[in-house]
Symmetry: C2
């Protein structure tokens, strides 16, 4: 089954890892680039790289981010020389970001840089940046507008969120590879990542919702809420910031009109309204078998929804 | 005594280390940037950095280049992703080159980038790039013109040298810091680096010879020939390439009209002609005490030459 999976941070990336086990190269992950940042002289693309490291098996799964057993030698030295120190990059992570920057400076596309990085690390699935032109997520707080990474790292993700802006979104468009992956998909899955700052920017790209709506494949959202709470990250603050309930029902409201069905956790206290077809199942991806189990659940469900 | 030392690779950098022991911040090293290269997305400045690592005490003195006990984690990863692999950079070395590239991209000068790097590493002496605009040394061989690093690394420094070109030299000028260091110097020393590709590019900058000639300080060259042979590097090939004897006398001929005196090795079989005032002394810098001894020899000699 050919699947297009929209993903941002940890939840979507974990599901991608589980799905790759089942689908191999039939999986295309469309990854949020709204988190991208230029720092330390390199181009950091946190979500596409996080997905890539989950798919290459190099992720520090305990921590949920970064490369297992990586070192910080280059970064420590950069700090010693006077470089900004708030955004840390481990050596192998930095290598990918430096490679990407040079690739882009040489006139290459982010899509091709990511493909090259994934290929170099032996990743089977495709990892597709959502767009090749820059989109930058900005967080509106009472103290002003902050770039997303500054909000998450410098502010510790603590200030109340009053809204989100996506700089560059009007000029962005889905890449040919993204459109091809959606057109070819037999199931389209919105991964259990932050609906506001991970899946949101992907869906906000002009033409993206239309491309998904134009597909005959079933469109299934996987709720990031497990037993009523998000596993990791500031999803609640962002849901509140845009005035949505911090529940699977709140997530469903964001995807209304786009999705055919939703997978929610079996212990979800506040599932979507009855008009959305819903499968309740265990969705905690606590380890590799858990990730494959949830992937299998979603894929089996998709198969039942597929038009005959 | 305030000293301006012209230096390129190993010999000049070793002498700089010895002189720093004696002079501290009264030493200014004017370093060749003709070896600079942009690769792996960073700006490599081999001679200024080599001097800096000798001065910071981090040099791998056994090997004569690179940082002691450094790792290659980032570079190995870059290779894995598909980056060019012919020019290796260890992690801390790469950090400086990445820092420099970003510094320059932000509109900074190489002089200020190097000052920041040296400061970060606790270097007492000043390390001054010879110019802030790019000069690129090219080697003319029977097979065509090669960038210097390509000649040294890809060609292993093996093809015959038919000549040397300095791309960008017409537009280059000594930096204000270099001119100030020369004007303030009580001795100007041409270090025992390759006279053709290390000291040569420095002296070829329009206005540099005039600035040195305009100083009242004695100008002393230290021959790179020890007991008739160069300690390290392809000096002979380059001396032959421009038609000069591979001897201290050959070196003296390149500096004719500029230097007041020369320090040659006590075992030199072919010292400069009698019209050049010459001190014969042990010049092998085999270890830290040896470097200080040679520095002391040169400084004491300079003191005897200084105008009363």
């Amino acid at each position: 089954m050919r699947v297009a999976l929209l993903a941002g941070g940890t939840g979507g990336a974990k599901l991608a890892a589980g799905m790759q086990e089942e689908l191999g190269s039939d999986l295309a992950v469309i990854a949020n680039t709204g988190d991208d940042i230029e720092t330390l002289g390199v181009h950091v693309s946190p979500d596409p790289d996080l997905v890539t490291y989950w798919l290459s098996g190099e992720i520090d799964a305990e921590r949920g981010w970064g490369i297992r057993d990586d070192t910080f030698t280059t970064f420590e030295r950069l700090k010693q020389l006077g470089a900004p120190s708030w955004f840390g990059l481990s050596d192998r992570d930095l290598a990918a970001c430096l490679y990407r920057r040079q690739f882009l400076d040489d006139g290459g596309r982010p899509t091709d840089a990511q493909a090259q990085i994934a290929r170099g690390l032996g990743v089977e699935a495709r990892v597709l940046p959502m767009a090749d032109t820059p989109v930058r997520t900005q967080v509106i707080t009472p103290a002003g507008t902050r770039a997303l990474q500054e909000y998450l790292i410098l502010d510790g993700g603590q200030p109340p969120v009053e809204g989100v802006q996506l700089e560059g979104i009007e000029a962005a468009k889905p890449t040919p590879e993204v459109l091809e992956a959606i057109a070819a998909a037999e199931a389209i899955v919105l991964g259990p990542s932050n609906p506001v700052i991970s899946i949101g920017p992907i869906l906000a790209i002009p033409g993206m919702r239309e491309a998904i709506a134009g597909s005959h494949a079933p469109v299934i959202a996987v709720s990031p809420y497990v037993a009523g709470a998000v596993v990791k990250g500031p999803t609640d603050r962002f849901m509140e910031g845009i005035g949505r309930p911090t529940t699977a029902a709140g997530v469903a409201s964001l995807y209304a009109g786009l999705i055919d069905a939703m997978v929610v956790d079996e212990a979800d206290p506040d599932p979507p309204p009855a008009e959305i077809e819903t499968l309740a199942a265990p969705t905690l991806m606590e380890d590799a078998p858990g990730r494959v189990r949830v992937a299998r659940t979603v894929l089996d469900y998709a198969a039942t929804l597929a038009s005959p």
